[in-house]
């Protein structure tokens, strides 16, 4: 545990230090925080950039893919000359270049094959920025078991969804409670076959990074167990209160 900021850090994070909700105490909490980001794509890009810039002391980025030219329309971590390189390593390089005062770890594997339980052992929260159901189910399950908060977002076409779960709370619902029957939906819509508006990923990913920062400095300000649905074309943003499903096989909440 670090209990103070260096002069260099105090200068770099001065615009945070000016805020009553963050200040030096909050910035020290950020310095001691560990964010685990799964997916270094459209959501992971703004998440990584903002968390690194904000001074989150340790960031782990997990992604098995390589950068393709079709990613560049929305995955703002990467430049044209990065095509063909590994996403996780490149994301880590970009974060480290942005902020050399933090610690960054790249894992170029599928989340299912990276010893995820171990990776999140000291995590403050996990940010799910993946693009498929099986990874989302896997991440949810491990976070429930380890009682590590999960900040989940998704986007396709012009629709975005955001959910945040605090699994330290016994009554928390989980991702599986909300969408229990997505197995076999692997052939469903994704950004490759349905498309997505680039800046929508910025909106949703920034929300994830923002809620991570808020959770670290002022957890009581976070809205857990709500589903926020954004539709950019109708400009109808809706929010729903989530509840645990007593029949959920993943979290089997003891009470509703």
């Amino acid at each position: 545990m670090q209990d103070k900021l260096s002069d260099q850090e105090a200068t770099r994070y001065s615009r945070h230090l000016l805020l009553s909700q963050i200040g030096e105490g909050g910035q020290i909490k950020l310095k001691n925080a560990h964010a685990v980001v799964v997916g270094a794509g459209g959501l992971g890009s703004p998440v990584c950039l903002y968390l690194a810039a904000a001074g989150v002391g340790k960031i782990t980025i997990i992604d098995p893919d390589t950068i393709e030219v079709t990613n560049l329309q929305r995955q703002i971590l990467y430049k044209t000359n990065h095509v063909g390189r590994e996403k996780a390593q490149m994301a880590a390089n970009q974060m480290q270049a942005l902020n050399p005062l933090i610690q960054v770890q790249a894992i170029g594997k599928k989340v299912e094959n990276c010893n995820f339980e171990q990776v999140i052992k000291d995590a403050t929260a996990v940010l799910d920025c993946t693009d498929n159901v099986s990874s989302r189910y896997f991440i949810n399950q491990i976070c429930v078991q380890a009682q590590v908060p999960l900040i989940s977002a998704a986007a396709i076409r012009g629709e975005g969804q955001f959910m945040m779960f605090n699994f330290k709370q016994q009554t928390s619902p989980c991702y599986h409670c909300v969408f229990p029957d997505l197995d076999g939906d692997e052939a469903g819509l994704n950004c490759s076959n349905a498309g997505v508006v680039g800046p929508l990923l910025g909106l949703m990913g920034s929300k994830q990074a923002l809620e991570f920062v808020k959770y670290v400095v002022k957890p009581e300000s976070c809205s857990f167990a709500k589903l926020t649905v954004i539709d950019i074309w109708s400009e109808q943003n809706r929010q729903f209160n989530l509840a645990a499903d007593p029949a959920c096989p993943v979290c089997t909440a003891p009470e509703l």
């Binding site: 969408f179 029957d181 729903f240």
Partner: protein, 65 residues
């Protein structure tokens, strides 16, 4: 009984379950349901009691990232 589904007014017979109402409306799985802003877990889709003027939202999962 008059209800709203995704903002649209619909008329249903009293006896129908929440699940039947949304299926009749054309919802196809997978989806999540909310009534009056409150999420209804899947295990309660059939037993949930609807009331006059309830507002139902059918939410399709989004997975892209």
């Amino acid at each position: 009984m008059q209800l709203k589904i995704n903002g649209q007014t619909v008329e249903v017979t009293e006896t129908k379950s929440l699940l039947d109402v949304v299926k009749e409306f054309g919802a196809s799985a997978p989806f999540a349901l909310a009534v009056n802003g409150q999420f209804v877990p899947k295990s309660q889709h059939e037993s949930w009691n609807l009331a006059e003027q309830d507002s139902i939202e059918i939410l399709s999962p989004v997975q892209g990232g």
